[in-house]
């Protein structure tokens, strides 16, 4: 697929979405000091009256969002992915449990976050939020899809957690193609009958590149952007499992509990299929450049290719 390679980081797409839905008076944006980083600052600049600053206080932020939601508002609260986890119990008990609808965005997800070091690199956020009933978990792959999926949350039926990335990556979608995305439906980027590579976030582009390289070797891979990790698109998983020899999952997230787990959990019971998980192998990161770090933990085009080969060579 030929998509323009320029674009912003997915966090930029989140900020843009808030502006795009700002005409709806129910939208309230909540910040815990990091609006410049999560890009909710774009909304704040234009709509200060509907932006609530709560300082560095994430637990308070989540329950303020819940209170606003109980009065018919649609709150969008953001901070770093890792700091949302500080308020995990608040999300569970104060927001999702009563069935209130507010949307949490954690930016700077994954080891790709870079030089800030391991304290800022959440590699478990998708796993923890996936365990909460009444929660949808989303991780867009570029700025355009972050905008599209965030806009769709405006009239969504349950609370959500969206992870965005700090750094710019090549665009996966065009202004047109992104319009076909739907929360809960995996996006098929290319089709091949041998193997399926299911990726999320910053790894989607690497999955596409791996598939391109493999095609030259005569291995045809389907590439999926599984931007919604929960509810996972089980219909698509069924189709893929029936078609291909095996599946490779790729995520800048712990191999415990994230995309790979979600795919395996479903398929092992419903359509047993070999699943090879590429992710952060139960370890913390460190300071370094984004690409250096991805390489350090084995999140590379080459590792995707060898995982695919290991399936077709079986």
């Amino acid at each position: 697929m030929s998509a323009p390679s320029s674009g912003g980081a997915s966090r930029d797409g989140y900020g843009q979405a808030l502006l795009n839905i700002a005409d709806d008076p129910r939208v309230v944006v909540i910040e815990a000091d990091l609006g410049k980083s999560t890009k909710s600052c774009l909304f704040r600049e234009k709509y200060p009256d509907r932006t609530v600053s709560l300082g560095i206080a994430e637990q308070n932020m989540v329950l303020v969002a819940a209170g606003l939601a109980s009065c018919g508002k649609v709150p969008f609260a953001s901070t770093f992915a890792i700091f949302t986890e500080r308020a995990f119990e608040q999300v569970r008990n104060g927001l999702a449990r009563p069935g209130l609808v507010a949307h949490i965005c954690g930016s700077h997800g994954g080891i790709h976050t870079g030089t800030d070091g391991s304290s800022a690199q959440s590699i478990e956020d998708l796993a923890v939020y996936r365990t909460i009933p009444n929660m949808t978990v989303i991780h867009p792959s570029d700025d355009l899809s972050a905008t599209e999926l965030t806009e769709q949350l405006l009239d969504y039926h349950e609370s959500s957690y969206t992870r965005t990335a700090r750094n710019k990556t090549p665009r996966i979608y065009t202004e047109n193609s992104v319009k076909s995305l739907r929360i809960g439906k995996g996006s098929i980027l290319s089709e091949g009958e041998d193997v399926a590579i299911i990726a999320i976030g910053v790894m989607v582009h690497k999955a596409q590149q791996a598939a391109e390289n493999l095609r030259k070797e005569g291995i045809n891979a389907t590439v999926i952007d599984m931007h919604t990790i929960k509810p996972i698109d089980t219909e698509l998983l069924d189709e893929l499992a029936k078609k291909v020899q095996g599946i490779v999952t790729v995520e800048d997230h712990s191999i415990i509990g994230g995309l790979g787990s979600a795919v395996s959990e479903y398929l092992s019971e419903n359509e047993p299929t070999r699943v090879v998980k590429i992710g952060v192998d139960d370890r913390f990161g460190e300071s370094g450049g984004s690409e250096e770090l991805l390489e350090l933990v084995g999140l590379t085009i080459e590792s995707i290719e060898s995982a695919v080969r290991s399936i077709v060579e079986l």
Binding site: V28, G55, L63, S70, E89, Q90, N93
Partner: protein, 273 residues
Amino acid sequence: MEASNPSIESLEQTAIECRKSIIQMIHKAGAGHPGGSLSAIDILVALYGTQLNFDVSDGKSPTRDRFIMSKGHASPAVYSILHQHGFLQQSDLDGFRTLGSVCQGHVDMKWTNGVDFSAGSLGMGLSFGIGTALAARLDNHPYQTWVMLGDGETQEGQIWEAMMAANYHELNNLHVIVDRNRIQNDDFVNVQMEVGDLASKIKSFGWEVKEIDGHNMEEIVEALQWSMNSTSPSAIVAHTVKGKGVSFMEDNPSFHGKAPNDSELEQALEELS
């Protein structure tokens, strides 16, 4: 209903009926929190009787006043006053803590008509109240938000995140009542983690604060009205007695979360009549 003006005597009589309900509910369930329900109930009776605007036929009316019971284990106190005002039937109270009952162990807005917050995890209610108070302001609604906190609950850091935020956002439509009953789950508050002079602490966060005897109905009614007239977020620190009204429960940490047995029930009801 519009807030009315009942006599002090009738409020005191309602409080006695509520205390009986609380004890009976917990005895029947064989579990629950009598101590903190009995310390809070006089305040709840005054609040529902003199200040809160609500509509029994529409528990989710957008313009209702909100009452957020942050110390959600005192659910029997909430259920007893909701019963007095027609939100709940006796059969609902009889189901307290049983499978499928609208009277869950801890107050829960998802289950109970008239309940505005899902509690159970301490420290969260004041933040939720900031959300409802902000929503009122955004929508230009005059409704008020009342939050009851336990004194042990103020050991949670989130309470102070919220105290700071309420003042920063100038929420004079937000009212807190602290049930200062001096006992928490394991023991006396000053044994577990002394919270000290709560009035001064809250005042230092920019709130208006008043201290009262939380079992003197006249003082409670006056303090609630004082809070309504405040120009900043306001807190009433109500000095109370855990287990108030039942001699063997009063000031007794072991009745924080324990049900009375048959003979204790009998004695309690006798003392309350």
